[in-house]
Each structure stands twice: as C-alpha cells, then as structure tokens.
C-alpha cells in the first residue's frame, strides 16, 4: 500500500505543486532581473481572481475542450506517476495537447488558429525526441514501465547523458519558455490558443500549465533511477537552467525551432540510442 502512497499524493496535489513551482519560478526570474517580483502564492491569488470573473465563452465546444485538456493531462500525469508504460504516457500527453490544438482550431479567431498551428509544430519538434529517449530507456532497462525505472539501481543519467541533454533542449518547447515560446508568444499571437478562454474556463488551461511543470520534472526525475537525491538535484538544476535560459534568450521563429530541435536534440538522442544499443 505504501508503494502507492507517494504517487497518489503527488497526483492529487499535482496542481498545487505545479502552482508553487510556477510561483517560485516567477520569484526566481524576478530576482535574476533584480526585481522583487510577486509573492510566492501569486498564481493562486490569480486563480481566485479568475474564478470570480464574469463567465464568457466563444462557444461551448471550445470551452469544453479546454476543460478536457486539463482532465486528460492530469490523467497522463497520473499514469506516469503510477508507473505506467512510458510510450502510453507520451501518447496520452499527445492526446491532451491535441485537445487544446483542436480547441484552437474550433474558433474563428486568427490568433487562436495561429497558436494552434504553432502548438502543433511544437509537438512535431519534441515528440520524436521524447520517443527516442523512451526507446533508449527501454534498451537499458528492457521495459517501458516507468514503475521499473523508478526502482532502477543505476541512475540512467550515467548511461544516457546525451539523451538528458536532448531532454534539456526540448523542455523549453514543451513548457513554452524562451527561446522556444512561439506557441504562446504574447507579442505576436497574444497568447495563442489560450486567447479565447476566459474566467472559469481559462482556469482549466491555466492550471493545465502547472500540471505540465510536474509532468516535465517527473521526466527529468526518471533519469535518476532509484537515486532520489540525484533526482532532486537534477530537478533543481533543470529548474535554474530553464529560468536562466528563459531570462537570457530571445525568441526564435518556429522554423528555427523545428530545425534546432530535429537537427540537434534529435541527433543527440539518436546518437545516445545507438551507443546504448552497441554497448
């Protein structure tokens, strides 16, 4: 029973953890810019404020898809934390992203459409890399079950450092951080797919982003195997790396992003896979 205690707690608390990560991120980013920044709990204050707003939607299907994006992402995260099949997790994550893309396409809003297109391209940029990383993990552990990976004695990082670098390179795409934040670029597409959501319905899309933090950092944690200290170290490192990168880089366009991701990150992950096969 104890085996399930921590994962279930993590799953139930995932939105809160993600919100805290986001709050802390805003503090850290502000400090990097020598600002004071908002309080740690600012995301939750925003959350409460949004709940109080007048309910407005473009049409029901659009609003409903936004909510289901949140639900399916939570489900994908649940499967990941409970030790499900990694390929299935990636597939489920793709489905949840698909729902938000479909929501974007379902309105007749220019920015929503552009955002959906860009999100689709982002998926194309990171999805193959994730799958290769999953295959590399399979090559080492002989299983796709993440449950076995959490218990793996030797940290995977030592055997697949290049794959870890590849993961670091695609995480900004997934989390929409500069330089790869074309999908929601506020100055260009005013938030992309999020634009047409408001009030209570925006809440779902907003908190789904928090879930994505938990999802991504869990992927990072996988590289540590059963070594929890190393896992926490990796997460902390990734956190500071992401924020430093976000603060210090300018946005590239989607073509550059795609070229970089499929050219550099994909190659790194693939070389790593070949090494894993040959050794």
């Amino acid at each position: 029973m104890n085996d399930y205690l921590i994962p279930v707690l993590l799953i139930v608390l995932a939105p809160i953890i993600g919100g805290l990560v986001y709050g802390f991120e805003r503090v850290v980013k502000a400090r990097m810019q020598r600002r004071i920044g908002p309080p740690l709990l600012q995301p939750f204050y925003d959350f409460l404020k949004l709940a109080d707003k007048r309910k407005m939607i473009v049409h029901s299907a659009h609003a409903f898809l936004g909510i289901m994006h949140f639900v399916s992402l939570w489900f994908a995260l649940g499967v990941l934390l409970l030790g499900g099949d990694l390929i299935l997790v990636i597939f489920l994550h793709l489905l949840s992203t698909a729902l938000i893309i479909l929501a974007g396409y379902s309105t007749r809003s220019v920015f929503s459409h552009l955002g959906a297109n860009r999100t689709a391209i982002s998926v194309l940029a990171y999805e193959p890399v994730l799958i290769i990383i999953a295959v590399s993990i399979f090559m080492i552990t002989g299983t796709f079950e993440t449950g076995a990976v959490y218990l793996w004695d030797e940290p995977l990082l030592y055997k697949m450092p290049l794959a870890f670098v590849a993961l670091l390179l695609i995480l900004p795409i997934k989390l929409k951080k500069s330089p790869f934040d074309v999908a929601e670029a506020h100055q260009e597409v005013t938030g992309g797919v999020e634009l047409e959501f408001s009030g209570l319905f925006y809440e779902a899309v907003y908190t789904a982003k928090w879930l994505d933090y938990v999802f991504c950092y869990t992927l990072v944690f996988l590289f540590a195997g059963s070594n929890i200290l190393l896992g926490i170290g990796l997460i902390v490192f990734t956190f500071f790396y992401l924020n430093a990168l976000d603060n210090s880089s300018a946005r590239v366009n989607y073509k550059q992003m795609l070229r970089f991701s499929l050219g550099v990150a994909f190659s790194l992950a693939f070389i790593n896979l070949l090494i894993n096969i040959l050794s």
């Binding site: 489920l92 974007g104 396409y105 809003s109 459409h113 090559m139």
Partner: protein
C-alpha cells in the same frame, strides 16, 4: 465447400454481366441483393474453412488462362499504341515476351491451381463485405455522375467484376493464375481511373497501368526463377515448402516487389495518388478492400518464408522509411482525398512491415490493421464522396464550416479519423509491433530494430498531427448558433455510412473476442503453425509473450473520442457569449488549415525508394 467458393467467383461475374443489360430499378435490387448474398457467403466460408482446401480445374482451363493472358497483354499493347504511351508499350512487350517464353519452356502444371485457407477466407470477408457496401453506395453516387446511362451501368459492372477477380486472386495457388488475376486487377484499376475520360484521368490511368505492369513482370520473373533454380512448379505451396533453400530468395524478392508496387510503396506511390481523379467509390474500393490490400496479402502468404531473411530486412527498412515519408508528404496536402491517400500509403507500409517481421504478434497486428483500416478508410472515402456530392467540397481548407452545415458528416469523419489513430487501430498497434520487432531481432540486427522503432514512432507522431489538423476543421464553428440539426443525405448515402459506423463500433467493443477468435486462427494459418496462444487474463490480453494492456487502451479510447463527440453536443447554460478577439482589426480573415511545404522533399523520397527497390533485388541475388 467447393460450390460455395465457386459461387463467390461466379456470382459477381454473372451480376457484372447482368448489370450491363438490366434497367435501372432492377439493377438496384440486384446490386443490393447480391452484395448481401456475397457477404453472407464469405461469412459462411470464414466460419467453415479450417484446413487449407485445394481444388483444381481441368487442364484445358490452363490453356484458356494462357490465352486470356495473351489477349490481355495484347489489349495493353493496343492501349499503348492508341494512347501513344511508350512505357506501357515497353512493359506490354516485355511481359508478352516473358509469358510466351514461359509457356514454351515450362512443363504443364500438375498440381491443383487453387487453394483456400483461413487467410483467403479472411480476405473474402473483407473484400465482399466492404466492396458490397461500396457497390450499394455507388448506386446513388454514379447516378449523379455526368455521363451516359450506359457508362453508369458499365461502372457498376466493372465493380462487380473487380470483386470476382479479387476473390480469385486470394484463392489462387498457382502463380500463373495469380499472374492473370494480378493483371486483371491492374486492368480494372486502369478502366476505373480512366473512367472520366478527361486528359488527367487518361494520363493517371496509364501511369497506374505501367507501374502495375512492372509488378506483373516481377511475377513472371519469379515463376521463371522458381523453375530455373530447380524448385519445380510455381505455386505458393511449393515456395513455402522450400523455405530456407538456396536460390529461393530471388523469387521471394520478386514477388515482394510485385506486392510493394501494388501496395503503392515509394517510389510507386504515384499511381495510387493519381487514382484520385476517378469517381470517389473507386478510391474507396482501391484503398479499402481491393487492389492495395493485395500487397499485405502477398507478404502474409510468404511471411514464413520471408522471415529472418535479408529480403525481409530490406522490406522492413523500406516500409519503415515509407511510413515516415508518406506521413510527411501528407502534411502538405489540402485536397481531402489526397490526405486520405497518403495516409493509406503510410498505413500499408505498416501492414507490410508487420507481415515481413513475421512473428505471431506482428501477424495478428497486421491482420487487425488490414481489417480495421479497410472499414475506416472505406467510411472516410464514402464521406469524401458525400462531401463532393452534397456539400460540393473537395479541399479540406474549405471545410471549416462543415460543422455547421453538415454536423453529421463532420462527426462521422471525426470518428473515422480517430479510428485510424486510436487503439485498436493505428498508432498503438505500431508501438506494440515495434517492441516485438525489437525483441525478435538478433543482436546484430538491433540497430535495424531501433531504426524501425524510431520510424514507427516518428511517423505515428506525424500522422496523428495530420489527423488532428483535419479534425480541427471538422470541429470548427462560430458561436452564433447553438442549434445542432443533423442533415439528411438520402437513404443510400446515410444507410451505407450507418453500416460502416456500426462495424467500427462493433469491432472496438469486440476487440478481445476478435483477437482470440478471428485474428489469431488466421495468423496461425499464415504462419503454418497449429495455434497461436492467446490468453485473456484479467485486464490484459497475452499473445505469446506480449502483453497488451486493455485498461489504459480503453481509457485512451474513451478520452479522446468521447471528449470530441461530447464537445459537439455539450451546451453551457448561463454563460455570456463573446466575439472572437481580433486585436482591433476589421479585415475578414479566411481560415484554412495550416500546411507544411514538404513537397520539396518528394524527389528525395522517390530516389530513396528506388534505392531500396534495387537493394531488395541485390540482397536476394547475394
């Protein structure tokens, strides 16, 4: 058993002849009645054929077949002369030369010419049920075609004749017979593609002709080499009996080439893409139940002999490549039917690959994919026809109002695309298979296995992106009206669609049963083993050593389709409406789906395809 099988051959032929003569109303009744009869016959055969059933025809039939071959090739030659097509001419002359040489040198065939086993009856079921639905649908579609009333009859007549030829090809054991039927399917597709008689149709029909003739030539060469290398008669049984012998690889490779061409694998994908100019039921027919399905059929027939040979390795590499390349090619398409065609090529690559790997699990997966793809693709193409006829839409970018003017059609198309993507259909079977591929590879082939896995994974990602792009158009609507009123498309159009939707839903619900009772026995026949152990234990299905988790599959299945379908019906009450944010602009934007200009890569894809085909022959020679 023989009368039932024979009636599967003769009934469609008779119907085909009668359709040319009968008046319209009688033809209607005949088409519907014979489609139902053929479906029942094939179901009966599927349930009752257990052991391979051989039967032969008197020897003078061999002479008739040879005569028919020659006549057919002369006809092709005449087509080449009349349309001034050099390629068709060269191919016809080569084929005719090869055929005459074979007829002169080969001893008279002794063994039975036909063999019906579970794999054949599986194909019967697919061919007759799906083609029957398409035939009924064509009644209405072709009725609205602008052509003379004789040509309308002629269209239905070729359709039934095509069904007869397909039934024959999947039950022939003798390769000379197989060659004739192979060429006859080529002829059928040539007549179908050229049906509209405009310049584009004629050109594309000629392309289809010469490309498929290369396949025919490969079969002739295979017959020659079987004889030349001392294996005796050219029959499938004989080929499989000599598995592993030296010199058997070349005929296998040649037959695989014929299969890959029929299956429109690159660089021969052009003929299938060109087939889009024909009336839509033709596309439905070519893509779902006939023609291209010959490709996985041949590979499945040969899979025990192909397994673990260098030829299989090249086929796996080729199809892995085609899977990705076709998916990428699809991203730049706007024409709805072309999007469907590219995805057919990609999924065919997957089926052929699974057949070539040839382990129990992959064969089961290949069969499942053949059947499910047949149903889904047929439904999507029939909907493409409805879009043309009822809504006058051909380009997917014009379809962004479909959700409002034709909610039922848009819902059905969405279901069709989802069924191509979700378990038990597309993406997941790919994953399941690639694990098995990897497990089956010996250490020195692990790199190939990894490449295949990467190809399947990436191709799957690209394909799902493509499907979501189209689904996005289907779901689009304005916020102006909340009313949802299903449109009426007439009894024949909606009736056929209902049947296919019913089949899709049934096959999803009945998946565990289908795998154990339906696919596994067929796979066992195809592999020449007694039984493939399939266990349903709790929430998992075990096929041999592979576990297929049912629960996550079911949840994944419910999450997306149920969400999207509910999204069409759900209405939030007590919520204010807002107009879309335009950033102060007053320009009217047109909304179209985004597409990626991947056309530049196409020549490279073709070049790579040619290299693969050359290496296929070279490895067989070494």
């Amino acid at each position: 058993m023989f009368p039932y099988i024979a009636s599967l051959f003769i009934l469609p032929l008779v119907v085909s002849g009668l359709l040319l003569l009968l008046p319209k109303t009688a033809a209607r009744v005949l088409v519907i009645a014979s489609s139902v009869a053929l479906s029942i016959l094939s179901l009966y055969l599927f349930l009752n054929v257990d052991e391979p059933f051989y039967f032969g025809l008197p020897h003078y039939v061999n002479e008739i077949v040879a005569g028919a071959d020659i006549l057919l090739l002369l006809y092709f030659g005449w087509v080449a002369f009349r349309k001034k097509s050099l390629l068709v001419g060269v191919m016809s002359v080569l084929q005719l030369g090869g055929l005459l040489y074979l007829l002169k040198t080969m001893p008279a065939a002794e063994s039975m010419q036909f063999m019906v086993d579970k794999l054949s009856t599986f194909m019967f079921l697919l061919i007759n049920v799906i083609s029957g639905v398409i035939a009924i649908y064509s009644l209405k579609y072709i009725d609205e075609e602008e052509c003379s009333s004789f040509r309308k009859k002629y269209f239905l007549s070729i359709l039934f004749w095509f069904i007869a030829v397909m039934n024959l090809i999947v039950s022939s054991d003798n390769l000379e017979y197989f060659f004739l039927f192979f060429e006859l399917t080529t002829l059928a597709s040539f007549l179908f593609i050229g049906f509209r008689k405009d310049k584009e149709s004629v050109n594309n029909a000629l392309t289809a002709l010469w490309m498929n003739q290369i396949g025919g030539l490969a079969i002739l060469a295979a017959i020659f080499f079987i004889h030349y290398n001392g294996f005796g008669e050219g029959t499938f049984t004989n080929l499989l009996a000599n598995t592993g012998a030296t010199g058997i690889l070349l005929p296998l490779a040649l037959l695989s080439v014929a299969a890959l061409i029929k299956g429109a694998q690159m660089p021969f994908s052009k003929w299938l893409l060109g087939a889009m100019v024909a009336p839509t039921p033709v596309s439905a027919l070519l893509h779902s139940s006939t023609m291209v399905k010959i490709a996985p059929f041949i590979i499945l027939r040969l899979s025990p002999a192909l397994r673990d040979t260098p030829v299989a390795t090249v086929i796996i590499a080729l199809t892995g490549f085609v899977f990705i390349a076709a998916a990428i090619g699809a991203l730049s398409q706007d024409n709805f039917k072309r999007i469907l065609a590219h995805s057919t090529i990609a999924l065919l690559a997957l089926m052929i690959m699974m057949g070539a790997v040839g382990t129990p699990v992959t064969i089961v997966a290949a069969l499942a994919l053949i059947m499910f793809h047949g149903i889904s693709k047929c439904m999507l193409f029939l909907n493409a026809g409805i879009l043309e006829r009822v809504f006058h839409l051909k380009q997917s970018s014009d379809m962004d109002r479909l959700g409002e003017i034709g909610p039922f059609t848009s819902l059905v198309i969405t279901i069709g695309f989802m069924s191509l993507l979700l378990p038990p259909f597309g993406a997941f079977i790919g994953k399941w298979m690639s694990i098995e591929t990897l497990g089956a590879m010996t250490a020195d082939k692990k790199i190939l296995g990894a490449l295949v896995m990467v190809a399947v994974a990436c191709g799957g990602a690209v394909l799902s992106l493509l499907y979501f792009k189209v689904m996005g158009l289907m779901i689009a609507r304005t916020g102006e009206s909340d009313k949802l009123k299903f449109e009426k498309t007439g009894p024949i159009f909606s009736g056929t669609i209902y049947v296919l939707i019913g089949l899709i839903i049934l096959s999803i619900i009945g998946l565990p049963w289908l795998v154990t009772e339906y696919f596994a026995p067929v796979a066992a026949t195809s592999l020449n083993v007694n039984e493939i152990p399939v266990l349903t234990e709790g929430w998992n299905i075990y096929i041999g050593p592979i576990k297929l988790p049912l629960v996550p599959l079911l949840i994944a299945f419910f999450l997306l389709p149920v969400t999207i379908i509910t999204a069409m019906f759900v209405r939030f009450k007590n919520v204010d409406r807002a107009k879309e944010y335009m950033c102060g602009e007053k320009v009217n934007y047109t909304f179209s789906s985004f597409y990626f200009s991947t056309d530049k890569a196409t020549p490279y894809f073709y070049a790579a395809g040619v290299l693969f085909f050359i290496s296929l022959i070279i490895v067989a020679l070494i």
